[in-house]
Amino acid sequence: MASQDIIARSATTTAPSSIRQQEEVAKLIDTTKCIGCKACQVACSEWNELRDEVGHNHGTYDNPQDLSAETWTLMRFTEHETSEGNLEWLIRKDGCMHCADPGCLKACPSPGAIIKHANGIVDFNQDHCIGCGYCITGCPFNIPRISQKDHKAYKCTLCSDRVSVGLEPACVKTCPTGAIVFGTKQDMKEHAAERIVDLKSRGFDNAGLYDPDGVGGTHVMYVLHHADTPRIYAGLPDQPIISPLVGLWKGVTKPLALLAMGAAVLAGFFHYVRVGPQRVEEDEHPSPPDASVHVVDPAVHVYDPNRPGGQGEERP
């Protein structure tokens, strides 16, 4: 995407470019239509040329087990029994949510390593990434991963390269059931509203849209059968917010800390100017010591009366 599209930039305290007016886009993942076929995982690997390792089966359908630098999206399967005893197999495509208020971007110390485009896409620029992993700390969804090969952070780009030339993300293109759709955020909300009406008619009274306010809304949204309990979908946060720990650590605390350090230096300087240095004056010379006193500092434990030169070194 062009640099004019960037409306937020990590570790940058001045206003970014904001000339372009773009509609916000969103990817809508309808968990109620998803069959967990992993075609999106494959499409993501194909388009982005990612090849994760052939792992192991750990007793579930989830494979790979977790996101990695080579796996930017994956299906998380949960077997859930409702209070009425009905079994549901909840399948959620996990990956970057492209928050309107991205915790990763907030946490990133490297200028321009994380950017937010005017259309809402949050993208990592590996060229500027220093590999510190603060983005992971900042992400309420625990999404970015550091590559152990190049020590750069990676995550879903929402196929920003495809979107910038008018294509949908690869996962959307490949989804066989239409469970993943893409368009303007407004259109996606309307589409979701229709889906929710249908789901309610099928007995899912708590069907709803997941577009959490705590991160300013997201550009990847879910339709959930049970929007009242997002956590049952393999730990989707009920109310994601940028961790208060991260808020404490970033936010206003750091400028204040810098200020405090600067103030300490200044305080010293003015103390020096006003009070002045402490000098030892000549008349304060102590009386000559008794010759029997060793001129050593016992605290330093270098004195050995039985050893020549045990007084330590000679005065220069």
Binding site: C34, I35, G36, K38, H56, L90
Partner: protein, 808 residues
Amino acid sequence: MTNHWTDIANANLILVMGGNAAEAHPCGFKWVTEAKAHNKARLIVVDPRFTRTASVADYYAPIRTGSDIAFMGGLINFLLSNDKIQHEYVRNYTDVSFIVKAGFSFEDGLFSGYDAAKRSYTDKSGWGYEIGEDGFAKVDPTLQDPRCVYQLMKQHYSRYTLELASQICGMPADSMRKIWEEIATCSQPGKTMTILYALGWTQHSIGSQIIRSAAMVQLLLGNVGMPGGGVNALRGHSNIQGLTDLGLLSNLLPGYLTLPADAEQDYNAYIAKRAPKALRPGQLSYWQNYGKFHVSLMKAWYGANATVENNWGYDYLPKLDIPGYDVLKMFDMMAKDQVNGYFCQGFNPIAALPDKNRVTAALSKLKWLVVMDPLATETSEFWRNAGPFNDVETASIQTEVIRLPTTCFAEEDGSLVNSSRWLQWHWKGAEGPGQARTDVRIMSELFLRLRERYQRDGGAWAESILKLNWPYKVPEEPTPEEIAKEFSGYAVADVTDASGALVKAGQQLAGFAQLKDDGSTASGCWIFSGSWTEQGNQMARRDNADPYGMKQNLGWAWAWPMNRRILYNRASADPQGKPWAPNKRLVWWNGKAWGGTDVPDFKVDAAPESGMNPFIMNPEGVARFFALDKMAEGPFPEHYEPFETPIGINPLHPNNKQATSNPAGRVFDSVWDSLGQAKDFPYAATSYRLTEHFHFWTKHCPINAVTQPEQFVEIGEALAKEKGIAAGDRVRVSCKRGHIEAVAVVTKRIRPLQVNNQTVHQIGIPLHWGFTGVTRHGYLTNTLVPFLGDGNTQTPESKSFLVNVEKI
């Protein structure tokens, strides 16, 4: 499929049973979601496991593997006794009123004519209609005659009560009733149910009869020939439909023509037997054109050498000495040292066939084995010791294996036939690697060399090879276009068709209506006739226009026969020729001709008053509840237990051991000893595919391997607890034929079932792993599958067998 993929969107109710469409056909499954989104359709899933399809279903109920006929039989009983049938449809378009011969009977699980020693129905003479003096079948339109099909069917299924069906299936009775009630609503003319099935129905010793029972339900509901209806086989390979269409079975010729038997030396008798006269007045009995299809095929094969003197090449055709040389038979013969060499073309038998150890032993007896495949298959390395996964003694195997690398489908032009019967042309995406050659190239060169040898050295019955027509520009590699044009058909001499149109010699035919039995036309596969006309390659069309909004898309590719999208579509209109319901209009009579949103599967100018009925391929013109003598195990589907049954008896016939499992199932003598019993192997196992993989191919693809890297089996939580197995543990799954080891996926999705008053646990065993490829190597799942099958199709019983499970 009687219907097709996009037509699923027209359904009001979708029953997925004997298949897992979301898992195995995720792309086609989009039409289910379309139906749900735009048609308010409901999706019901019945399966031993809570599948990926079940995860998006409106209702799911578990069923014991192999008990589907009990479910369907109970449903037939439910529909009949609650009067939930489409009366006018059933009365007019089915055989309910036909009188069955007095010789037909059914007693304690066996139909009349059974020969226990031969384990088959040797006398099917009673399995037919009473024929009147006029040569037509006798009917009773009042349906009161106790010998009419309606009364016999009613009587047959009266035994399938809700309670008994529930006991056999292990499905809770209230779930079963709920599903039946919902299905029953589709007897309304404006409402249709589609049934989607796959190998979960075919791979049983009673597979064909399960499917027939589903067809009977659909006929009772008036859902055959209707948009959003039908009985729909979701085929497992992209071109497996094409395989059967082109007759690549040992007893078939292309277009479902049949190879003659040894006894059929008389050409005219061969034709006459296959071209039956109408059994009711005014019926079309379309197979009366058999001779035209056959002669045109022979002209395509033998060209000018097929003459009236040699019965149009009939004399060159091989005649079968036994009913068929299907794969089970071939490997049984191989094991008996009766086969010297074997060609595996795109076939991985030690992985795909049942009882891997038996198949390996059979292959070890061959002198030579040729494997034509794009991949290094397990079969091509069956002699290699791969540790526990293929523990063979290499030195003892003397078979010479020759591997001929072929291109894969994406590396060649051509057509594929999908489940919808659409012939879709595709274009090469990349060149094949290394020395890979197309299958056509390899087979052509083989043919040319054989022909040369026969020319030079002669040999027994050389004409069969020497007289073949080989008109291709490059004899070593006929092009896909040349072959496609040949199977579609061309005029050998100038011909004039029924409408008076002239087709000049050498021109492409417009369709099979132009075929002749006088040697003036050639068509390599009559049902494909019309796929490449003078207007060009119809299979390459990609127009998805849908002028009626009925999802028929007649401009997309080309469907056999004659671009008809829904078979029997005349039945979508009432006897007067009007659609049963405005929202289900497909074809109708416009006063002069049939037409509409689909190509009529009917005589286009046969007015409704003529009384011609929609099922034109049947001589009686109507659909059959009573299968006559067409099925191996009887005219009505009857529930029989899998050959390895977890309950030991057939609850319908607890005292008749002959009727426990399919009395006419395909079991070789040597196989009985390899069958286990519930006391040793207590759990009902079923094998299946996963969406992440395609058979044994994609384990060679890194990305597929990443998404499903290692062999596993699925075990219900209750059994896992009993056995002390935790998710991720390694377990050994064994049966009398061998064992596999895999990771345990412990799941809530498989629940213990109450069957015949005992608890039955089921085990799920996916099959994609082996000892080649980039996934973690594993065991071939078919090590566990018994070497027996359906008596009609010879399809193995891969979906129901007994195992034991232990934690390693």
